[in-house]
């Protein structure tokens, strides 16, 4: 049992952002959420994290509605890594990773050996051993994301939600980061823009278009030339030439905008 969304909808400013989305996760697998800008990826992740509550529908964790669980209890199960986190506070890597222990600690009690152990393990898993005393503001973008993942791991979650974690990273760090995430023994949901990265590292994919589910399945089921044309309005050439025979997408150009009635959202 894990996170489960049933027919969730959410609107903002009079616009329907998500419209009846279902999502069932496979425990221990990595699910990629794809879709153009404004398709509702971030909103879906925030609903799954319990940071927003759905206007209709239900998000459950092990069968219990998220809204009925205590925030602290949810944070011990579900960890979130944002697109880009920053702070003005002068923190070290160990301080930031230590924040992951917040949901595990009771007020007026000192930290326990468990906390220190969890921080050490998280640093190790994220490949940051030896960096504990470095200052946050001296880290590169890739290192910061790694630290945020280590912080999430220090929460000792079973579900990990990442919202476009590879934005602003160079290609080596993108691959590093997603390889790290995919290798974790957690039930992971990651919102992504890059279709090739999604093909390489995700077990399952969910494609959103204007707040609705357009497709779901394994990468080779979902990432087809037709779907890319339909959702992104881009011509592409898809071949099974990626690692382990996964689909590889070569982009050929944009397609003309759809008929005016559909009113494609301008991106940029």
């Amino acid at each position: 049992m894990t996170l489960h969304a049933e027919g969730v909808s959410r609107s903002a400013g009079g616009h329907l952002i998500l419209d009846g989305v279902d999502l069932a996760l496979r425990p221990g697998h990595t699910t990629g959420v794809l879709g153009p800008n404004g398709s509702g990826k971030s909103t879906l992740l925030r609903l799954l994290a319990g940071l927003l509550s759905p206007a209709c529908g239900l998000v459950t964790l092990d069968g219990y509605p998220l809204g009925e669980l205590r925030r602290r209890a949810v944070a011990r199960r579900v960890a979130v890594v944002e697109q880009q986190a920053d702070t003005q506070v002068e923190l070290t890597v160990a301080d930031v990773v230590g924040l992951g222990r917040v949901p595990h600690r009771r007020p007026w009690t000192p930290g326990s050996p468990d906390d220190e152990q969890a921080v050490r393990t998280a640093l190790e898993q994220a490949g940051l051993t030896g960096h504990a005393e470095r200052a946050w503001h001296t880290l590169s973008g890739g290192e910061r994301q790694r630290v945020q993942i280590a912080r999430a791991l220090a929460q000792q979650p079973r579900e990990l939600l990442l919202d476009e974690p590879t934005n602003h990273l160079d290609i080596q760090h993108q691959l590093d980061l997603l390889a790290l995430v995919a290798a974790l023994p957690l039930t992971t949901v990651v919102a992504l823009h890059d279709l090739n990265l999604a093909a390489m590292y995700c077990d399952d994919l969910l494609v959103l278009g204007r707040g609705r589910v357009v497709a779901r399945g394994t990468p080779d089921e979902v990432l087809t030339e037709e779907l890319i044309a339909q959702v992104y309005r881009v011509r592409a050439d898809v071949t099974p030439s990626g690692p382990e025979g996964r689909p590889h997408i070569r982009f050929l150009g944009t397609l003309p905008p759809p008929r005016p009635a559909e009113g494609e959202r301008r991106v940029g």
Binding site: L51, V78, D86, Q88, V89, E90, T92, L99, R101
Partner: protein, 347 residues
């Protein structure tokens, strides 16, 4: 400056040293003043009053120590500690390095309340100056909460609402003083507005100390929650923090403490803004260490600032708020300069 995991013994040593400095400061500053009194006299008076022995001091000198100097110095310590803790909590909670007890408008509301009582005689004698000040503080804070909630309740809205309330109540204070007060009252009011610990009695000390300790215990219970705000309120929420409840509890606690302090000692500026930054340079950003450090450094700072205020132009007294700003600004600049790498990376 190093952060992170530190041996507990070192922390213990730091607190021991801090407490020792505070006690020594209190003992020393009590001896400073027109009547010459030694540290030994202070101890024998305190011991005699607590029933641990007899003092060989004259009755008058004992009175000076016990009823004039000691309450004043202790009140200075409590006010310094309280204002610094309030500042630290608000800076973290609102993610704004400029937040301090004045930003919530509490101080200016208190000033207006006091002025209305002094100048207009509101309450017909039933309401003391500090009573009026406390009412003013509560009204102003309620206004700020209401306004910021209507505007969306985000941290920047709270700060903006506080600034608006501050301006409004400052204007009201000026208006009341200009239209209703004679020259003598104006002088007295001005003195109070800049902060004064003169006339402190034991009741003031106990009352403020009780509020300080209660608020400190609450804030320490929230210290890891405050740490979680480092990356913003969404990040805090994803770490299991109930953001709205935390903000309400801590804003109310700090407003209560500020109200109590300002209604007793006037609007002493600068301590709440600056001391948290200085304390952060000493302990790092973790609130479990930062809040006690703020309390200690704030207490020591204001004890000495008030001693300066009452001795530098003796027999005249300078409002302590003037001293805190004159001494504090250079210290502030120094602290900011020494921690500038953090600021640079954020720009």
């Amino acid at each position: 400056m190093s952060h992170g995991i530190r041996p507990a013994t070192r922390g213990g040593l730091l607190w021991g040293a801090g407490l020792a400095v505070l006690c020594a400061s209190i003992a020393l500053t009590v001896t400073i003043g027109p009547a010459s009194i030694g540290v030994g006299d202070v101890w024998s008076t305190i011991a005699a009053r607590l029933g641990w022995g007899t003092s060989d001091l004259t009755r008058l000198r004992e009175e000076i120590v016990w009823n004039l100097r000691l309450p004043r110095v202790l009140l200075a310590a409590v006010c310094g500690a309280g204002l610094a803790v309030c500042g630290a909590v608000m800076q973290s909670l609102l993610r704004n390095p400029l937040a301090d007890p004045f930003v919530l408008g509490v101080s200016s509301g208190a000033s207006t309340g006091a002025v209305v009582v002094v100048v207009l005689g509101a309450g017909g004698g039933a309401l003391s100056v500090s009573g009026g000040a406390f009412l003013g503080a509560v009204c102003s804070f309620a206004l700020v909460l209401l306004l910021s909630h209507t505007l969306g309740g985000t941290p920047d809205r709270v700060v903006l609402s506080g600034v608006a309330a501050m301006q409004l109540f400052s204007a009201l204070t000026s208006f009341v003083v200009m239209t209703g007060a004679d020259a003598e009252t104006t002088r007295g009011v001005l003195f109070w507005l800049l902060g004064s610990l003169g006339g402190a009695g034991w009741t003031d000390v106990w009352l403020c100390l009780a509020v300080l300790l209660a608020v400190l215990v609450v804030c320490l219970g929230y210290c890891r929650t405050l740490d979680a705000f480092a990356f913003g309120q969404d990040a805090a929420a994803s770490l299991g923090v109930s953001v709205a409840r935390t903000r309400l509890v801590l804003l109310c606690a700090t407003a209560l403490l500020t109200g109590a302090l300002v209604s007793t000692a006037g609007a002493i500026g600068f301590v709440g803004l600056v001391l948290p930054h200085a304390a952060r340079a000493l302990t790092g950003p973790g609130h479990g260490r930062l809040l006690p450090a703020c309390a200690l450094t704030g207490a020591v700072f204001l004890v000495w600032a008030d001693t300066l205020a009452r001795t530098v132009l003796d027999p005249q007294e300078v409002p302590v708020g003037v001293v805190t700003s004159l001494v504090g600004v250079p210290a502030f600049v120094l602290v900011l300069y020494r921690t500038r790498r953090g600021v640079r990376s954020a720009s």
